[in-house]
């Protein structure tokens, strides 16, 4: 469904991604794990078109999107929950969700999507008139995910949803990620430093190290791999 081939990305002279290739099949949850600065976010930002690759291909449902502007990529069906949530802090929860549905014009459909988000995250419903900046970290993460779902993506790129959250909340967020995948059939590419959680929900995984994919395979094999355990699972 989504495939990247031999991606080379530079920040000035820094080689951020070096021949990165990965693929995500329809219906999967795929995790991309790695340390801080390994290039995980860069990979997602390149898929969304926020950064341009110097070389390589990004193919979504058979179409090359390496030169497509980001807003068109959203229209094609790729949603992206960015690192650090990036909610519109000065706007209300409701306005954030409305912006999530920016590419849609079916008013009734938008309303029912919003209701779905509120059903999934009742706390957002309670705070729908509140400014997003006044929400807690966990609530902001829920809002960021809900906002991305408002565009009805077929693929969701999730960038460090667990960042800065208490362990219980992390578990809640990951449950929701699984639910979204299972109930709504949304394919998910998940980037995480919390490798344990990321591999527990994924079917497959990739390990990124200083811009290179060093390991890939079934999530449970990766979780059992001694190198992965040593480097990322604190075993």
């Amino acid at each position: 469904m989504l495939e990247i081939k031999n991606l080379d990305v530079y920040y000035g002279a820094i080689h951020a991604l070096d021949h990165v290739s990965l693929s995500v099949q329809q219906g999967e949850i795929v995790s991309l794990i790695g340390a801080n600065g390994a290039g995980k976010s860069t990979t997602l930002r390149t898929i969304s078109g926020l950064i341009r690759a110097k070389k390589g291909e990004v193919i979504f449902e058979g179409q090359s999107i390496a030169k497509t502007p980001p807003h068109k990529i959203v229209e094609m069906g790729i949603g992206h929950v960015p690192e650090g949530r990036r909610v519109f802090a000065r706007m209300s929860v409701e306005e954030n969700l409305e912006l999530g549905a920016y590419i849609r014009s079916d008013k009734a459909g938008i309303k029912s999507s919003m209701q779905e988000v509120y059903d999934r995250f009742p706390r957002l419903f309670e705070r729908r008139k509140q400014k997003a900046g006044t929400l807690s970290g966990g609530e902001q993460q829920m809002l960021a995910i809900g906002r991305a779902l408002m565009s009805k993506p077929r693929v969701l790129l999730l960038d460090e949803p667990s960042m800065g959250l208490a362990p219980l909340l992390v578990k809640e967020i990951f449950n929701i990620v699984e639910e979204i995948n299972r109930d709504q059939g949304v394919t998910i590419l998940l980037v995480e430093q919390n490798a344990h959680m990321a591999l527990s929900v994924a079917s497959r995984g990739y390990v990124l190290e200083t811009g290179r994919i060093v390991l890939e395979g079934a999530a449970k094999d990766l979780a059992a791999n001694p190198e992965v355990q040593k480097a990322y699972l604190g075993a």
């Binding site: 949603g79 990036r86 000065r90 706007m91 991305a148 565009s151």
Partner: protein, 297 residues
């Protein structure tokens, strides 16, 4: 009413009118700053071009053509603003800010001199689009020109406020102003929204240009310099980036200027703006409606 009170109210009324014009211009500064962090020093000249478009439209269609003049000037200035952004600022989007700022000053000089080339350097008498009728309310003079100028300014500002707060495009503008990448991830065409911002700001400036022409009866190619600077100061006083701030800042500026002219000396007319600027920078540098206070994480 006592003479002192009548005098005070008269200054207040005049100040509100002047201030509503500053506010219209200040909105363009603040919106553009809010969205691309650029102080668009060519904005005062877009206001001037708007006044001239109105001047020529009245020349073709007759003096009474205030509504077509206003509409065509707003459309023409919107196109001009969008073109300036597209050709001069967009290529510099990722360049150091100073480059775009210098370019803005260059565009300002270019517009002034192009208009000067075409119409000459002298004042031109503005067509009398409205036949002045004076009304007195308890001794305070409020002419029909005043009512039309102030009323137009208020209607335009209310319209802008509606667009920004209620419409989808307005929400997209606020999103882009807050976080461009996050806005892109919503499917917002950021370049399109930046163009829209320039179009709206320029259209309001053009309206201000015509209202000034009607009020003071004369225009020239350099008429945008001082009002442009004052409106910029008004935007800073209100809190640059804040739309309500620009409106309030403009009104404060107009009233302060008129009070100083009325009670102290008209030779201090242009000094007031900069005096206010110094005061606000000392007391509350982020402006009355601070928009840019906390650093984004």
């Amino acid at each position: 009413m006592s003479e002192a009170l009548v005098n005070f109210l008269q200054q207040l009324v005049n100040g509100l009118q002047l201030g509503s014009i500053y506010a219209l211009i200040a909105l363009g500064y603040t919106m553009v700053y809010g969205i691309i962090r650029l102080i668009n020093f060519a904005h005062g000249d877009v206001y001037m071009v708007g006044a001239f478009i109105g001047f020529f439209v009245a020349g073709w269609l007759g003096e009474a053509a205030i509504i077509p003049a206003l509409l065509l000037a707003m459309i023409g200035a919107a196109l001009l603003g969008v073109t300036i952004e597209r050709l001069a600022y967009r290529p510099l989007r990722s360049a150091p800010r100073l480059a775009a700022l210098t370019t803005a000053i260059g565009i300002s000089l270019l517009l002034e001199n192009l208009v000067r080339l075409y119409v000459g350097p002298n004042f031109l008498a503005y067509p009398e689009m409205i036949k002045r009728v004076n009304h007195y309310f308890g001794g305070v003079l409020i002419s029909n020109v005043y009512m039309i100028v102030f009323g137009t300014a208020i209607v335009l500002m209310a319209g802008l406020q509606y667009i920004v707060v209620k419409t989808k495009a307005g929400k997209a503008m606020r999103a882009v102003a807050f976080d461009k990448d996050a806005a892109r991830l919503m499917g917002i065409n950021v370049d399109g929204i930046i163009s829209l911002t320039f179009a709206l700001g320029s259209a309001l400036a053009a309206a201000a240009g015509i209202l000034v022409g009607i009020t003071y009866g004369r225009i020239d190619p350099y008429m945008g310099i001082i009002p442009g600077l004052k409106a910029f100061v008004a935007a800073v006083i209100g809190g640059i980036g804040s739309i309500p701030g620009a409106m309030v800042g403009g009104l404060v500026m107009g009233i302060a200027e008129q009070m100083v002219v009325g009670y102290i000396s008209s030779s201090l007319r242009d000094a007031v703006a900069f005096f206010l600027l110094i005061i606000i920078l000392l007391i509350k540098p982020t402006g009355l409606f601070a928009e840019f206070t906390q650093e984004k994480v």
